[in-house]
């Protein structure tokens, strides 16, 4: 069973009389354990595609099956539950809560799933990204690279089936960006499914497979032959 199966997925925005198609019939599957980069220039529809795949948006037409189930019948509340428990998000601008400790940020998703042992789970997730020494720091006291690693820990804390990373290195210097990419590659090596959205060829080459999107359609679906491996920095990542 595929983790994700989309068939003829289309999305259009209607503004009065003007209909703007954003996705025009996209089909592909993602198997568990894959590392897929969705790549394309801005306006290509890659973000809309990611929003639909991650249950933030619904398609206009077409079919989206997640873990073998048709998502069109899910209620908004059920979709919120899926976002909470089955997927994780990493954003370009980190989106951490200000004036809040690193630990509390990572505990946030567990607040909405009403998990009891949130403290332990959050500490484990932070250990996995090498931030056990920053638990009580406030998010304005840590570096950009560390912020993104907190965001990754937050995405992992509910042990999701798939991790969505939307331009995760876009706001980082190359060294921090490398660390983040290396964490993602490590997670994938351990079996985590990762879907990366980016407009950069260089970043996309960290994945194992690239879906090239342009004008709302998939131009190419290719294996990455010359895969970039982020350099190993044992100081930062276990």
């Amino acid at each position: 069973m595929s983790l994700i199966r989309v068939e003829n997925l289309a999305k259009e925005y209607v503004n009065g009389e003007v209909v703007t198609p954003v996705l025009r019939g996209v089909s592909f599957t993602v198997e568990p354990g894959e590392f897929v980069a969705i790549m394309g220039p801005s306006g290509s529809g890659k973000s809309t595609l990611m929003h639909i795949l991650s249950f933030l948006d619904r398609p206009s037409t077409g079919r989206y099956e997640f873990e073998g189930l048709d998502t069109s019948e899910f209620s908004d509340e059920y979709l919120a539950g899926l976002r909470n428990e089955r997927v994780g998000f990493v954003f370009q601008s980190f989106n951490l809560l200000a004036r809040t400790s690193v630990l509390d940020n990572v505990k946030l998703p567990l607040l909405y799933s009403r998990v009891k042992k949130s403290e332990t789970l959050a500490k484990e997730a932070l250990a996995a990204v090498g931030l056990s020494h920053r638990l009580d720091y406030f998010t304005n006291q840590i570096s950009g690279g560390e912020k993104q690693r907190v965001a990754i820990a937050r995405a992992l804390v509910n042990n999701p089936a798939v991790l969505f990373a939307d331009e995760p290195t876009g706001n980082l210097d190359s060294k921090s960006g490398n660390t983040v990419m290396q964490i993602l590659q490590n997670l994938n090596d351990q079996g985590r499914t990762i879907i990366l959205v980016t407009h950069e060829q260089e970043t996309a080459r960290h994945a194992r497979r690239i879906l090239r999107v342009k004008d709302g359609a998939i131009l190419a679906d290719e294996r990455v032959l010359d895969r970039v491996l982020a350099f190993s920095d044992k100081e930062l990542v276990k």
Binding site: H51, F91, R99, L108, P109, Y112
Partner: protein, 416 residues
């Protein structure tokens, strides 16, 4: 729930100045409500003390000038203009007093006259009111003495020159000296001080400055009259007070040769009537003041709504993130409502403290003025204040919270 509370507290403490200013409207409104109810309870305790002192089971008979048609047109039906018109009603006499005593429900009664003269002891002088009354006064009036004794019926019959002093007057005339047994000059006569009252709560403020002397002494030696100004009647069963009042009216009309109630030269008032009048006025004033406080609460609520809308805009990105990681609309609604209710309840608690403090200050001032004023913050006033402030939080917080809950997560995430 605890985690939600913690989040709200963090959000509020992040902007302390704004939170404080936002609560101000609620603080003032709630403080006003508490002050009104607290001072109201204090005032009521004062009235209760007065009623208890006179005995709640008493009737007052007061002389009154019967209004002629002309007077009624000119000045209304006013019992208190007799002095101004130079008319003195001199029909209320000892015969009335004795016959009232024989009415079945009547336990006891006493008569009273009043006047004014200068009291002096050595170098100290004070203009003081006197109450001349028959000795039965002390069986009905429950105010007790600090020192000495009351005058007796025998002293009254003999028109003895003995006096019981109000507490302030005793202090003014004698300072630290013991007044008992001393002679004071009062008007043109010498009186021996035989007793001093304890301080008594009195809205008119004159009771503590007065001289209390036997009826006959007052009538014959001070005033040169043989009638009374007031008669105070104690009844056995207050529930039958109206019936007794009617019997007294009939008796007085027959004694005074009055043919129609319009020509009455007296009025009979029951404590219950006086209390009912008081309660009506007092209730009206309370409602008026609370209505004014309610306006402040509404203004405070609108302020909170305004700030909550600002907060929603400020935290758009945060709301987007929370929705992305699985918060439902209900979760977001609950978070913002919690925050709004927290602000208002906080304001409510501050308001209760401020209102109680002001009520305490009022009680201190009232006590200093010699009134028997109890400081009370009624428990139901506190419960009301908390309930009202929480309701305002929900009422005025629900619209901003709903607009937060309905934000589109994709739009919200993009918001910078």
């Amino acid at each position: 729930m605890f985690a939600v509370l913690k989040q709200s507290l963090r959000a509020l403490s992040a902007n302390k100045a704004r939170t404080t200013l936002t609560t101000l409207g609620i603080v003032i409104g709630i403080a006003t409500v508490i002050l009104v109810l607290s001072a109201g309870a204090g005032f009521r305790s004062l009235i209760d003390a007065q009623v208890a002192a006179f005995g709640s089971n008493t009737l007052f008979i007061e002389t009154r000038v019967p209004a002629t048609t002309k007077q009624r047109a000119a000045s209304g039906d006013n019992a208190y203009n007799q002095g101004a018109l130079g008319v003195v009603i001199n029909t209320l006499k000892d015969r009335d007093l004795q016959e009232i005593k024989k009415i079945p429900n009547v336990v006891n009664d006493y008569a009273m006259v009043t006047g004014q003269a200068v009291a002096s002891y050595r170098d100290n002088q004070k203009n003081a009111l006197f109450y001349g009354s028959t000795a039965e006064r002390f069986e009905i009036d429950k105010h007790t003495l600090k020192a000495g004794r009351f005058y007796t019926a025998a002293e009254d019959v003999g028109a003895a020159q003995v006096a019981v002093l109000g507490s302030s007057l005793a202090k003014n005339l004698f300072n630290q000296d013991d007044p008992l047994g001393k002679l004071i000059r009062y008007g043109t006569l010498n009186f021996q001080v035989i007793g001093v009252y304890k301080p008594q709560g009195d809205i008119t403020g004159v009771a503590n400055d007065a001289v209390y002397i036997p009826m006959n002494t007052a009538q014959h030696k001070m005033l040169g009259i043989d009638h009374f100004s007031f008669v105070i009647v104690q009844v056995a069963d207050i529930k039958r007070a109206d019936e007794t009042a009617n019997q007294i009216k009939l008796l007085l009309r027959s004694n005074h040769d009055i043919l129609s109630p319009e020509k009455d030269d007296f009025i009979v008032q029951t404590q219950a009537e006086a209390l009912a009048t008081f309660n009506t006025i007092f209730g009206g004033i309370t409602i008026l003041l609370i209505a004014i406080a309610a306006i402040s609460l509404i203004v405070g609520g609108v302020g909170i709504m305004n700030i909550m809308y600002v907060v929603v805009t400020e935290r758009t990105a945060e709301i987007g993130l929370k929705k992305a990681i699985g918060a439902t609309n209900k979760d977001i609604l609950r978070e913002f409502l919690t925050e709004a209710v927290l602000v208002t309840v906080l304001g409510g608690i501050l308001g209760i403290m401020l209102g109680a403090l002001l009520g305490y200050v009022v009680s201190i001032i009232a006590t200093a003025a010699g009134l028997e004023w109890a400081f009370v913050v009624p428990f139901n006033a506190i419960a009301l204040a908390v309930a009202v402030s929480a309701t305002i939080g929900i009422g005025f917080g629900v619209l901003p919270a709903r607009s937060a809950a309905r934000l589109d997560p994709i739009e919200a995430l993009r918001y910078e």
